[in-house]
């Protein structure tokens, strides 16, 4: 497990990066999901995986029976999963909304208009008249 998990996390991360670089917005969202999961796996394996007693305190005693497993990485991952889930829901809603408003999920198409309407870099002749408009 100690070697398998990091390799798995790395492979998922790489897949996620590949999907992020594709032009479809949906693939980008899936890429983010995969990266998020791979980071959680990395967090899990970096917290050291061990086969010890569960960190539960028996009735009457004040500490778990040692040696017990470290519960903290799981708590961290749980938090990260919840946060990731919320952000993912928003990202999906945003992707859907963009599709409805702009009619495409291709990022080249999606972002093309922005340069025209928000006046990014303007032609040179406009720049020169800019001062005395």
């Amino acid at each position: 497990m100690d070697t398998l998990l990091p390799i798995l996390a790395g492979a998922i991360f790489a897949t996620g990066i590949y999907l992020l670089l594709r032009s479809s917005l949906i693939l980008t969202v899936i890429g983010i999901i995969l990266i998020s999961n791979s980071v959680n796996l990395a967090l899990f394996s970096l917290g050291r995986i061990s086969t010890e007693n569960p960190p539960l305190i028996a009735a009457g005693s004040i500490e778990p029976i040692s040696p017990f497993a470290n519960p903290l990485p799981q708590a961290l991952i749980l938090t990260a999963i919840v946060i990731g889930f919320g952000l993912l829901a928003f990202a999906l809603a945003l992707a859907y909304r963009s599709y409805r408003e702009l009619g495409t999920v291709d990022q080249d198409e999606l972002l093309k208009d922005a340069e025209d309407t928000s006046a990014g870099i303007v032609p040179r002749e406009n720049l020169e008249n800019g001062g005395d408009a």
């Binding site: 983010i32 990266i35 938090t79 990260a80 952000l87 999606l110 309407t117 800019g130």
Partner: protein, 502 residues
């Protein structure tokens, strides 16, 4: 232990809840907005008194002793940052009254604004690296929705870039946290600072430092990771642009300052040299980007990038003077930059556009607005006696004192170029002839009186007043920044405050 430290987080949460409960009433939401931000300012002043009197303030949440529970820490840097956040909160709450339309109010503008402030304050206060990640996410989700709220085509396009890049940066951050935990077995920043030097594999520590630099670098919009910022910050309503442009990127800068003074100081020759180059390129590329644009808010967005470079440069100097300059620069820049955004909003209301070539005549018809613009623009460019002068002066002095002449020269040159693009705005929007097509109210609607523009002018005047005040009487603030810098360069004070005497 100081229970008050929880207030800068709790007050915005309570206000957000109240605003959500009375979502239907614009009036109540605005009122809560003002009261909440006012209360936040009061709580920050109270905390400031304690910090001034007794040094670093610490609160162990849930009474769990330091490395095990979550710790809130207010040293002088965090103090200055929550102070400026509270001031910005009040100012934006006033500006929003007139600037934010009813529809956005109905769809949760105010609750989100307060959640955003809560996230920002949480990031400044926390002394736990995983908790910092959580606060970043709180801040991000609020900022995502604020940016997309309204659903205009421009906003969606801006939001897409902003959301995905920031999601990615958070995941990189989380991975860095995972590696830190794997190496040291702790997440408390003070405890990390104790244990990191004991890690034998220093190459791995440097790797983690780079992971953090990338993640916070994206959030702070440094070269070469800044592209999302000018692509999105000009799309939402001006009140949102102003708080994003003023505050949000500075949270990234704060995080960079924190980790590169407290945690990753093992190999400053390597990490801080990279920071120095990053700072230099950020300054130059940002200002060149601004020079090539002719849209009011886009120019300002590129200037955010450029100014971030100065702060990173100050951090990279790694001397008391340099870090003091960086902190002072952050504070000054939040004021000047937000004010320019707020002024651009008023100009847009008068002329109906942000396009410089369709603007003009503001000086003729609204000289007072022009004066406000001049104050903020000159402060940004670093003219004496305004706040930016002292910020630039301390950075230049810091650079010269450790004989980094090239980067110091670049910093001065970039200041001149800043002035160039401010002049561009001034020449067309303010001095230019009145354009042929202007809205009917242009020239007739007064800044003060009927029409409500004075609500927008109040925040502008408050900030301009602060800029002048800081400029004319810089000594007290410079001293506070110096205290902050000395605390940062001497981490044992921070560690002792959190973990108790070693």
């Amino acid at each position: 232990m100081n229970g008050m430290l929880v207030l800068p987080i709790a007050i915005p949460l309570i206000t957000a809840t109240l605003a959500l409960l009375f979502r239907k009433s614009s009036y109540l939401q605005r009122l809560f907005g003002l009261l909440g931000m006012g209360a936040l300012l009061v709580s920050v002043i109270l905390i400031f008194r304690d910090v001034q009197a007794d040094g670093i303030q610490v609160l162990q949440l849930g009474n769990w002793a330091a490395p095990f529970g979550i710790t809130l820490v207010v040293d002088m840097l965090a103090m200055l940052m929550i102070g400026i956040t509270a001031i910005m909160g009040v100012v934006i709450a006033i500006y929003s009254i007139y600037d934010i339309d009813r529809e956005r109010e109905q769809f949760g503008y105010y609750p989100l604004l307060h959640i955003l402030v809560m996230g920002v304050n949480g990031s400044f206060l926390t002394g736990d690296i995983f908790n910092l990640y959580v606060w970043f996410e709180v801040m991000l989700i609020a900022s995502f929705i604020l940016l997309a709220l309204g659903n205009s085509k421009n906003q969606l396009q801006g939001a897409l870039k902003y959301v995905f890049i920031n999601l990615f940066s958070s995941l990189v951050f989380l991975f860095g946290v995972a590696m830190l935990y794997g190496m040291t077995g702790t997440l408390n920043m003070a405890d990390l600072a104790v244990r990191l030097p004991e890690v034998e594999n220093t190459g791995l520590v440097t790797t983690v430092a780079m992971i953090f630099m990338v993640s916070f670098g994206i959030k702070a919009a440094v070269f070469p990771l800044f592209f999302w910022l000018p692509a999105s910050y000009h799309t939402p309503p001006v009140a949102i642009s102003a708080i994003f442009g003023g505050l949000l990127t500075k949270v990234g800068v704060y995080a960079l300052i924190r980790v590169f003074t407290l945690l990753f100081t093992h190999d400053t020759g390597y990490t801080h040299t990279i920071l120095l180059w990053v700072g230099g390129f950020t300054m130059v590329i940002g200002v060149l980007g601004a020079a090539s644009h002719v849209e009011f808010r886009k120019i300002l967005s590129f200037h955010i990038v450029s100014q971030i470079g100065y702060m990173i440069m100050g951090l990279a100097f790694n001397t008391a003077m340099g870090i003091m300059g960086a902190i002072f620069y952050v504070l000054h820049n939040i004021l000047a930059k937000s004010n320019l955004f707020l002024i651009s909003g008023i100009a847009q209301r008068l002329l109906g556009t942000f396009e410089l070539k369709k603007m003009g005549g503001l000086y003729k018809h609204y000289p007072f607005l022009a004066v406000m613009f001049l104050i903020s623009a000159f402060a940004l460019a670093g003219f004496p006696p305004l706040s930016g002068f002292w910020a630039k002066l301390s950075l230049v002095k810091a650079g010269l004192s450790i004989e980094l002449y090239v980067i110091t020269g670049v910093a001065i040159l970039v200041g001149l170029l800043t002035l160039f693009s401010m002049t561009k705005i001034w020449l067309s929007a303010f001095w230019g002839a009145v354009p042929e097509e202007v809205p009917d109210h242009f020239g007739k609607q007064p800044l003060f009186g009927a029409g409500g523009l004075h609500i927008l002018m109040i925040p502008v005047m408050i900030i301009a007043g602060l800029i002048i005040l800081v400029g004319l009487n810089a000594q007290p603030l410079l001293e506070l920044c110096m205290t902050a810098a000395e605390q940062l360069l001497n981490p044992s004070v921070y560690i002792e405050a959190v973990l108790g005497p070693q």
